[in-house]
């Protein structure tokens, strides 16, 4: 089977940063790391290497992709491989975009390889499998055989198994499979393994980490905003915040409000019993207390709007978006600290 390999200017031997503006170029056969890869590929031969400068790709993406797709198609490959890009963001981005488009537009199976936190991974959006690598070129010897393994799997035409088995990063898909053992038995096995110090899981997934922001030096001079995911809204829910699977968030003015009075505010959150909250909404959003502290000078200023949504059955992607949208407004308004309530 014929394969095409994508490399950036550096790995293709065209030069370092000074060659980062190199437009898409075809090189004969396998080049650089491609030689190592080619050696381990059985029944697959890298017939051409496509190289492009990282900056050229970033600055002329449409032209670069157009030309690369042209060059790739001309080789009539059964497989395209991009990278390994390791931690290099521009290179990983290019690998992800190119391999994805080769797959989507030309229908040629493609894979890429890069570090799990390379921005290229997010850009691929799970459309092509990505082999995880170390963050820098030290991981080259380890990456190539694993890329060859995934290449062979793709070349065989069979459906890919789960990420852990085939050696690629989770893409966010869930497929149903019939397990040999019932769930109860598998759960006990996992528990016994965990007691033995081996923590395994059948479900993938994780969350990235954000370092804690520096503390507020002096709250008595700071603007504090109230945000809630407890579904607190004006009585009657005028803007129809959903009880579950909220598609967005809302903001309401706190001007002149010293407390969230019962009967004027309520919670529409469908995930818990709102009786206590509706008797006194301050139990969810403590306006009465923070106002008193504002008057006492403990807090400089309570921000004049509060933000609300329902944190019930909200997909991670949605709540991530809500958070960054709200954060943008808060920053714009000069808010320096946030009190967030959840249930």
């Amino acid at each position: 089977m014929r394969a095409v390999h994508y490399l950036n200017q550096f790995f293709a031997g065209l030069g370092g940063e000074e060659a980062a503006e190199t437009p898409p170029t075809r090189l004969e056969g396998a080049v650089g790391p491609g030689r190592g890869l080619d050696g381990t590929l059985e029944g697959i031969e890298i017939v051409a290497t496509l190289a492009c400068g990282d900056d050229y790709f970033a600055e002329h993406e449409e032209e670069a992709l157009g030309r690369l797709l042209e060059l790739a198609g001309a080789e009539r490959p059964g497989l395209v491989v991009a990278g390994p890009a390791f931690g290099s963001g521009r290179y990983g981005y290019a690998c992800a975009r190119f391999s994805r488009l080769v797959s989507e537009r030309l229908g040629i199976p493609a894979l890429a390889a890069m570090h799990g936190e390379n921005p290229g991974v997010a850009v691929a959006e799970g459309k092509v499998p990505i082999v995880p690598t170390a963050v820098n070129v030290v991981g080259m010897r380890d990456a190539l055989p694993r890329m060859a393994q995934l290449a062979a799997a793709l070349a065989s035409g069979r459906e890919l198994g789960p990420p852990a088995e085939e050696g690629y990063l989770p893409r966010g898909f869930r497929r149903n499979r019939l397990a040999e053992q019932p769930g109860a038995e598998r759960a006990i096995d996992l528990l016994l393994a965990k007691l033995d110090g081996d923590a395994r899981s059948e479900v993938d997934g994780g969350f990235d980490r954000v370092p804690p922001p520096l503390p507020v030096p002096d709250l008595s001079r700071a603007r504090l905003a109230l945000v809630t995911e407890a579904g607190c809204v004006p009585q009657g829910n005028p803007d129809r915040l959903p009880a579950i699977r909220a598609q967005g968030w809302l903001r309401y003015s706190l001007a002149g409000e010293r407390s969230l009075a019962a009967g004027r505010y309520e919670s529409v959150h469908g995930g818990f019993d709102v009786t206590l909250a509706n008797e006194d909404p301050n139990r969810l959003v403590p306006l009465d207390t923070v106002r008193a502290l504002e008057e006492a000078g403990r807090v400089g200023r309570i921000h004049d709007v509060f933000y609300t949504t329902t944190g019930n059955g909200t997909p991670v992607a949605a709540s991530t978006r809500f958070g960054s949208e709200i954060a943008a407004e808060l920053r714009e308004a000069g808010v320096e600290a946030v009190l967030l309530s959840g249930t």
């Binding site: 804690p212 503390p215 709250l219 945000v227 139990r283 009465d288 008193a292 949504t309 249930t343």
Partner: protein, 74 residues
């Protein structure tokens, strides 16, 4: 998730919740344990004042990632 995204924008944020385990799993950094799901800020104003003061204190304190504070009783 809201806490983490607001923190990502650089704003110190304290998350009051009765489920700190979930909050640390997701990656919030300043967490105060609230007394209950139905009323994270307590039932009466005295209890509420204690929780809010603890939260404000946390906003003014440098913390390690994924830190959970309890509210002292009394």
């Amino acid at each position: 998730m809201l806490a983490k995204e607001i923190e990502r924008a650089g704003l110190p944020t304290v998350f009051v919740t009765s489920l700190p385990t979930i909050a640390t799993m997701i990656g919030a950094n300043r967490i105060v344990r609230g007394p209950a799901i139905t009323h994270p800020f307590g039932v009466d104003e005295t209890e509420r004042r204690g929780i809010v003061e603890r939260a404000l204190e946390m906003l003014e304190t440098p913390v390690e990632p994924l830190t959970v504070w309890e509210v002292e009783a009394g």
